[in-house]
């Protein structure tokens, strides 16, 4: 069975390729050297993490950290949260409406609807941001958090759409018909039968929409005007031609650790559920 051996080796090599940069990133986040490096070892430090809570005076004393604007970073992160508070529920609503119409509405417009609703997922992200900027600008809305929200919803609503549609297709129509036949009003059928059935899918769609909104860079960059978000701020920090501050690596490490914990917990949990 050599071919299967080769396949295994190849798979491990691929995983190594996927993880190596991440591990290097984590290593350099505890290295007292800026720009971040793993070869130029300057000693162990936690200051790239402490940046977020260290006293103002210590901050001033550090040659790298004093160039950074902590308050701005925090307020940009706050903007991201504000945006996702609007984007996630709105995306769920639009995705749900689209999913219901696409699965349950038998009509000739169905094919067209497919193309229209899925087209943002097929378009380069930058274009969505730009067109939101131009369109709302024409209506007199200045670029800012609002245009970011609109631009993000345009394509993020596609995730709930696909997830809910897959789920709806697995629900037999007879279930809704049976409830209707037993005398329930259409609204009650939706609330008691369809929604509970969709609930797990809605949950995972919400998580995915939240992540997509937080991490989005391409679309946001074009729609943001003078505003900033977590992702654009991180992106902006990297524009220094001499290398970015290792604070980014610290943030990245935290994200990696959170992701790993969440993913492991999820798979352990769902395995226990299944078994």
């Amino acid at each position: 069975m050599t071919s299967s051996r080769i396949l295994s080796v190849y798979t491990w090599a691929f995983l190594a390729f996927m993880f190596a940069p991440l591990i290097l990133m984590m290593l350099s986040s505890v290295n007292n050297a800026s720009p971040p490096s793993v070869t130029n070892w300057g000693g162990l430090t936690s200051k790239w993490y402490a940046f977020f809570w260290m006293p103002e005076d210590d901050l001033r004393a550090d040659p790298t950290l004093r160039l950074l604007d902590r308050d701005r970073f925090v307020s940009c992160f706050g903007n991201s949260l504000t945006i996702s508070v609007v984007v996630v529920p709105l995306s769920l609503l639009l995705g749900l409406a689209g999913a219901v119409l696409l699965t349950r509405w038998r009509s000739r417009a169905n094919g067209l609807l497919w193309w229209v609703l899925l087209s943002p997922m097929l378009a380069p992200g930058v274009i969505l941001g730009l067109s939101a900027l131009v369109f709302w600008g024409r209506l007199g809305v200045n670029a800012g958090l609002f245009t970011i929200m609109m631009a993000q919803v345009t394509f993020i609503a596609g995730y709930p759409l696909l997830i809910l549609m897959a789920r709806l297709q697995r629900q037999p129509v007879e279930l809704e018909e049976a409830a209707l036949d037993l005398g329930a009003s259409p609204f009650r059928v939706f609330r008691r039968i369809t929604l509970p059935f969709l609930l797990p899918a809605l949950g995972s769609a919400a998580v995915i929409a939240l992540l997509a909104s937080m991490e989005n860079y391409n679309t946001t960059m074009f729609a943001k005007g003078g505003a900033c978000t977590f992702a654009t701020e991180i992106g902006a920090m990297g524009r220094n031609p001499n290398g970015h501050p290792p604070v980014i690596n610290a943030v990245g490490t935290v994200i990696i650790v959170l992701t790993v914990v969440a993913a492991v917990a999820h798979s352990v949990f769902s395995r226990r559920e299944a078994g």
């Binding site: 049976a178 209707l180 037993l182």
Partner: protein
């Protein structure tokens, strides 16, 4: 609510894609009746049920429940309850919540709902399963939950779409009796759909035989079995040997038909005239060995299938037609290697009907 009568008045159902699944149908089901619709797959049985419960609007004609025209009434307003082919139990609700759902929709308090649900679950002998989820029940139990759920809304009409098709034979026989007794106890009108003729014959007050969107015959089990009105009804309900030919003589209520197997006499209940293309049907159990019959032919045994108390014999006549014979399993029956021997059937047990489409045999279905 006591059962109510259902009237289909010239109902025709055409689907949006232009396919007409039910043609011009008049039908009256009496209040409190156990009425079956029997027909092959795809003939439009489910469509009729869906029209009665309000999921499809007839493109022509009226549907009345009691004396009330049901046009433009949604399924949630009609006094019907439909038991779906796949049952459609709500997977996320417990058994008793399933049963009580109709009451919940009517705003009945939880305490009353639960009491009523338990009552109905007792009726279908599931009193101890109330808190399980439908997925934790067996097929037959699920079946009974669906029945209890439908009965909970106190319907005037219960519509059942092949509810027993997924069950094994023993359970099916048991459920037949159970359904029948529930129907007697509640007095609700049942419209029962099946393509199993045994089921229809054992349970129903009356049966409608349906083919390709048309009702061919309505009558009691006896009428449909012994006095079919069309070639399709004769061939679909029960086994029948068919001999096609032409009417050569008519006398009183008998007729003579000339077939490649010879001339046969049979009942002329369809008032055929001389020269008409016709088919003579005779049930396998009416065919016997010997020469003491009005209609005679000679055939050799091809196959012998033991069925328990019966044996089914497949014979081939001298002219090449297959003749099915069924006889009680008493004494000896001829072996395959034997020579041709005389067989025959009484004139009164044969019926002559106009030529028309026949039900497809198993071999034809398989060939598709």
């Amino acid at each position: 609510m006591r059962g109510q009568a259902i009237t289909l008045d010239g109902v025709e159902v055409t689907y949006p894609n232009g396919f007409t699944a039910v043609h011009q149908t008049d039908l009256k089901v009496e209040a409190g009746e156990f009425f079956s619709i029997l027909g092959p797959s795809g003939c439009g049985k489910t469509t009729i049920l869906r029209a009665v419960s309000g999921f499809v609007e007839p493109s022509r004609g009226r549907i009345l429940i009691g004396d009330e025209d049901q046009a433009h009434k949604g399924p949630n307003i009609r006094p019907t309850a439909l038991i779906f082919q796949n049952l459609a139990l709500f997977p996320l609700m417990s058994v008793w919540e399933n049963v009580a759902f109709g009451l919940e929709a009517r705003g009945v308090s939880k305490r009353k709902r639960k009491a009523r649900a338990e009552e109905l679950l007792d009726l279908v002998a599931l009193g101890d399963q109330a808190d399980k989820k439908p997925t934790e029940l067996s097929g037959g139990q699920r079946q009974r939950v669906a029945i209890a759920r439908a009965l909970a809304v106190d319907p005037a009409v219960l519509l059942l779409d092949e509810p027993l098709s997924a069950l094994d034979l023993k359970l099916r026989q048991h459920m037949r009796a159970e359904l029948r007794s529930i129907q007697r106890k509640t007095g609700v009108t049942f419209i029962y759909i099946t393509h199993d003729q045994g089921e229809a014959l054992t349970m129903s007050d009356r049966i409608a035989v349906m083919n390709e969107g048309r009702i061919e015959q309505v009558g009691t089990g006896d009428e449909v079995y012994s006095a079919p009105k069309t070639a399709f009804a004769a061939s679909f309900v029960g086994e029948a040997n068919a001999f096609a030919g032409r009417v050569t003589a008519v006398e009183n209520d008998m007729a003579c038909i000339e077939t490649p197997e010879g001339k046969f006499l049979g009942r002329n209940s369809a008032s055929m005239k001389v020269g008409d293309a016709a088919v003579l049907f005779v049930r396998p159990e009416a065919v016997g060995f010997g020469t003491a019959f009005g209609n005679r032919l000679s055939a050799r045994l091809v196959r012998r299938d033991l069925e328990g108390s019966f044996v089914n014999l497949l014979m081939r006549s001298d002219a090449g037609a297959e003749v099915a014979v069924q006889m009680p399993n008493v004494g000896t029956t001829p072996g395959v290697e034997d020579d041709a021997r005389p067989i025959g059937f009484a004139c009164g047990s044969a019926i002559i009907l106009p030529e028309g489409p026949l039900a497809r045999t198993g071999r034809e279905v398989a060939a598709e």
